[in-house]
């Protein structure tokens, strides 16, 4: 898989891929097991990481503060 493929899968999962590109990607996913596995793994990872999004659910202030510090450290 090329970096372009990776970027396209990411854009697809983020809901940003145009219809014609979406069609091409889905056709490749249906034809190439490696691409299908990569898409599904990334989808699972994205579904997981979005549970850490501060806007996703209530009652997570304590954790959000902790992750906020991690983000601040990442930004440096």
């Amino acid at each position: 898989m090329t970096r372009d493929d990776e970027a396209r899968i990411l854009a697809f999962l983020e809901g940003e891929l145009e219809e014609d590109e979406r069609e091409r990607l889905l056709a490749r996913v249906e034809a190439e097991p490696e691409m299908a596995a990569a898409l599904r793994a990334a989808a699972r990872g994205m579904a997981g990481v979005r549970t850490l999004d501060p806007g996703e659910s209530v009652g997570r202030r304590r954790r959000v503060r902790a992750w906020g510090l991690a983000v601040a450290a990442a930004v440096g």
């Binding site: 970096r3 990776e6 970027a7 899968i9 990411l10 854009a11 999962l13 809901g15 219809e19 979406r22 889905l26 996913v29 249906e30 299908a36 990569a38 898409l39 599904r40 793994a41 990334a42 989808a43 699972r44 990872g45 994205m46 579904a47 997981g48 990481v49 979005r50 549970t51 850490l52 999004d53 501060p54 659910s57 209530v58 009652g59 997570r60 202030r61 304590r62 954790r63 992750w67 906020g68 991690a70 983000v71 990442a74 930004v75 440096g76």
Partner: protein
Amino acid sequence: MSDADAWVGRAARGDADAIEHLASVHRPAARRMARAVLGDDDAAEDVAQELLIRLTAALPGFRGDAELSTWVYRVTLNLCRDQLRRTRRRAGDVSLDEAVSEPALTTRSDFGAEVDAARTRVAVREAVERLPEAQRQLVLLRYVAGLPYREIARITGTPQGTVASRVFRALKSLGEDLEGQHLEVVT
């Protein structure tokens, strides 16, 4: 106005034939997309059915086919994400004490679902912490801080294409890690 836009206009006004036509177009598209993401025919069918229910309710708000197609795409992805989130660790993988330390548990009535959700979040946090430092930073900047790729590239001094590629690899690793921990999709 295109034919596709005309179908949407008629459906938005409650024309049953037009609603049926749009369902016949968008349901298979949603099922195909969900199958690609979930890799499971039954789960994809569930997503397509739920999409159809939401589509019927949302139709009066649409002005054209392009808008509707984008809506179908994004709602289908959200429904797939919901499916993937309905995960739980096998009993005993995370202690109840660890799970109930989540404050949300005290405010929700569906205790079992909240315990599963809390366990999932614990597993995700641990998996994110296992990512290589560079990938972890990018994932946090993108999905916790919610920054656009352009801004992440500026902050980290990394080309935007490289940021996207690393974010993809991080998500893939994360997904494989979670799968490897025997997180089960609950359908």
